[in-house]
């Protein structure tokens, strides 16, 4: 059997693919963060809790209302996005004129409260959520069995990332958004309702987190801590990619997923640390991040 660095080649290909799949989650989560930071200048520390809410909302729709995974995929981002809109409208908008730190503290605090409420209600050991029957099973790729669901996650995440990028970079709405980021009062002078646009952008970012939560529910334990485990890594991804850079966060998300996946083979004990080591190196060499503008 062919070996690369002492690891059988098929195993290595499998690990690369798994890295891409995990990268898909990082990319989707960091995308939402980047969109929010780009326009609102808010570091949204509630993102992990909103990801978790997405997974729980999918469970609730299934068990309380009887709506399946596919419906959840559409409804959950809207419902959780709406809670984001409410949160922006009630609280976050009061902080735009203040330092970044205030937004960070507020969203961090809300995240802790939400996590605590879910923990009180559902406990910490999680809830069962099955893979939808249409996506169960696995493909034999020769070098590994790829569960159909994982393939779906990568494909779906890529489509979502691409769609978000197109909306922001290629459409009129995106042009307004980008213009408002540069100079909000000027855009408002042209008759565009900037505050409403900002509110909806926050809602959309939150919706992306919730969508990732629905995607995660069948493969990860649906529990109140699921977001806080992931979100620290995702922040590192955003920092490495460059705060606010859409394309940067997507590419970095997939790339770091692969790096982490390889670490899990060569030095598993360090797999939780490797991303932060990269973050430190990138910050020293390029403080604005790989794709950020200083």
């Amino acid at each position: 059997m062919d070996e690369i660095f002492g690891i059988p080649a098929p195993l290595l290909f499998g690990q690369l693919l798994l890295g891409l799949i995990n990268g898909a989650f990082y990319a989707m989560l960091s995308l939402g963060l980047a969109v929010i930071f780009g326009l609102l200048n808010i570091i949204n520390f509630t993102h992990g809790a909103q990801f978790m809410m997405g997974a729980f909302a999918a469970w609730m729709l299934l068990n309380w209302v009887g709506l399946n995974y596919w419906v959840a995929l559409i409804l959950v981002p809207i419902i959780i996005g709406a809670t984001g809109v409410l949160m922006e409208w009630l609280m976050i908008r009061r902080l735009y004129k203040l330092d970044h730190l205030y937004g960070l503290l507020l969203t961090f605090g809300i995240g802790l409260i939400v996590e605590g409420l879910f923990r009180n209600e559902f406990g910490s050991s999680g809830l069962p959520y099955q893979i939808p029957p249409q996506l169960s099973g696995a493909w034999d790729l020769g070098f590994m069995f790829l569960p159909v669901y994982r393939g779906w996650v990568v494909a779906f995440a890529l489509v979502i990332c691409l769609a978000t990028w197109i909306v922001i970079e290629k459409t009129r709405l995106g042009a307004y958004l980008r213009a408002a980021t540069e100079n909000a009062s000027l855009v408002q002078a042209f008759g565009i309702n900037v505050p409403r646009m900002v509110t909806l952008t926050y809602g959309a970012g939150v919706g992306l987190a919730a969508l990732a939560g629905v995607l995660a529910a069948p493969i990860y334990s649906v529990n109140p801590q699921m977001g806080s485990n992931l979100i620290i890594v995702v922040f590192a991804v955003v920092v490495i990619g460059g705060m606010g850079s859409i394309l940067g966060s997507v590419i970095t998300g997939f790339g770091l997923g692969v790096v982490e996946g390889l670490t899990k083979v060569f030095w598993p004990e360090a797999s939780a640390t490797v991303i932060f080591v990269i973050m430190a190196i990138v910050l020293l060499a390029r403080p604005a991040g790989l794709f950020g503008r200083a």
Binding site: N229, I232, P268
Partner: protein
Amino acid sequence: MTTTRRGLLATGAAAAMLPVPLSRARAQANTIRIGVMNDQSGPYRDIAGPNGVIMAQIAAQEFGNRGFTVEVIGADHQNRPDVGVNLARQWYDQGVDMILDVPTSSVGLAVNNVAREKNKAYINVGAATSDLTGPQCSPNTAHWVYDTYMLAKSTGGAMVRAGGDSWFFITADYAFGHALERDTGNFVRAAGGRVMGQVRYPFPATSDFSSFILQAQASRAKVIGLANAGADTINSIKQIAEFGLTRRGGVKIAALLMFIADVHGLGLETGQGLVMTESFYWDLNDRSRAFSRRVQPRLNNRHMPNMVTAGNYSATLHYLKAVADMGVPASKASGIEVLNRMKAMPIEDEAFGRGTLRQDGRVLIPSYLFEVKSPGESSGPWDYMKLLQTTPAEEAFRPLAEGNCPLVRS
């Protein structure tokens, strides 16, 4: 960043929980104070957590007032040894007489040293490492309901007998995972089996196990031994099923430490057929059923008691009996004397029936091997397990002479 976040919580929790009950309590010399320390906010919360505190309170209430009052307080150690040690020092210095529970082996071992240094009583219920009654045994410490040796012998032994003679371990990279991997590996090898490899992943920062599952698959082992617990175990089992190893590959999963709350979180659809070992199950016999139905309404999320929460009940009761026997001043003076008295008395309670506390601090009770029911076999929530096999108390745990406990040699 994790540290900062947890650190904030630590300070908040310590500030909020400690001063009030203790300052009030200090005024009463005739009060026995029990501090239940466990994970109140992380992955092991449902194993003990708030319910662990409640079960100790129930035991104290049922014990009643026999010439002294009992106060039970609780706090969150966040699975961090440094937090646990600070809390333990603070508690013992401020008049807590016995520290109870302390799951997460790294924290459990750290608190063990504090109790010994201050000559106080320490009853560990939630931690798994068999080192607590092995090389690190202490005259101040009892280890109540289970340990890695007992799990390894029951679950590991059963898997090897069923033909699972080659193993690959997916191990949480800290004291608990290492001990469980070691003890199980010993049984596998002793039975003529082989350990094909292991992967140690960072705890608690891992939620995706697919990479390790692929490595396990590449090793061609017949059994994947999960030397982890809580949400990690649930994630591992879900993802092993997703990759089709159990269905198509014929690989067996040995979930070496699993609690009924984990089965609840996993669901019977994915969990059915798993074998697991516990020393308590609510539906084991009339006694355990009556006990569980009585306490369940008082527990959070209406959980059924598991072996750890039931263990907190049992340990509190036995400790208080010893205190009543010796008197409060003598109990407060020496943790070693309380433990000696506890060792001299037979354990008897509704949850576990009869048991004994051995010289090295090990409680001897039977262990039970269960299989998780299929959805069709279950009549509803918490009806999850059927009994496969009982190991009697005297065989369930590591023989006294093999533990390398210094107390035994002297």
